[in-house]
């Protein structure tokens, strides 16, 4: 049997890696992929706590997170396509229209 804190620690490491990628990467597509990593870390935490309490509600939460991640990917990628069409770039630092 694997102790539950190991899973939580792994999820924390995965979340921090995703956060690091969101802050460091310039390509908007890779930033979205790092957001998916963070969502998966949250899912892993939900499932670890579900296993700990023997309750299936954590699985339901993970199901909803997956559904929200699917809609986030659809909308985000559509926005990336629209921005690429008008600016010719997907680097986040080229998008500074709303910066000031």
């Amino acid at each position: 049997m694997v102790p539950i804190p190991y899973y939580l620690l792994l999820a924390a490491a995965l979340f921090c890696m995703g956060m690091f990628g969101v802050m460091v990467r310039r390509n908007a597509l890779v930033v979205f992929m790092c957001v998916e990593l963070m969502l998966n870390a949250a899912n892993l935490t939900f499932l670890a706590f579900a296993r700990m309490h023997g309750d299936v509600i954590g699985h339901v939460s993970a199901f909803f997170v997956i559904a929200v991640a699917a809609s986030e990917a659809a909308i985000g990628l559509a926005i990336v396509i629209a921005v690429f069409r008008s600016r010719g770039s997907v680097l986040v630092e080229d998008l500074r229209t709303m910066k000031h």
Binding site: M1, V24, V30, N40, L47, R51, V60, A78, R85
Partner: protein, 169 residues
Amino acid sequence: MNIELILFGAFALLTLLSAGTVIFARSPINSAMALVSTFFFLAGLYVLLWAHTVAVLQIMVYAGAIMVLFLFVIMLLNLGESPTRGKPTLARVLGGAATVGLLVVLAIVLLKLPAGAPPTMSAATQATFGTMATLGQTIFTQWLLPFEAVSLLLLVAMVGAVVVAKSRI
């Protein structure tokens, strides 16, 4: 050492390695491929946590549908290799330091939890825990309204994606 711990170690190591590849790969295609393998290893971890249904959903929805969407967009935009990191500005250095700090704080808190094996369930719970039938029954009795709201959300996202990505409306 039992087999479950060995499997957990292997899946955890491979997950972290693939996640690192997602962050540090030069081309977005390599990042996407590493993300697919991350999802597969995470599905293995979900099976170890007795979440079989979520593991199947992970492979079908994440590794299947979402990643195909990502790859399709990467190929549509036809991006070349881009430099991984920009100049190490002050904001980026501070961001990296904040990430490491968050990880340290989380590790300190989590290592204080009692690190025993997860509590055993009754035989009846154990037989049905995490199966499709149990999950379906919970969703369609206690969580019916959120489920319908999510279906509406997916519909709105689908229509919105078409509207945003269309060149002329």
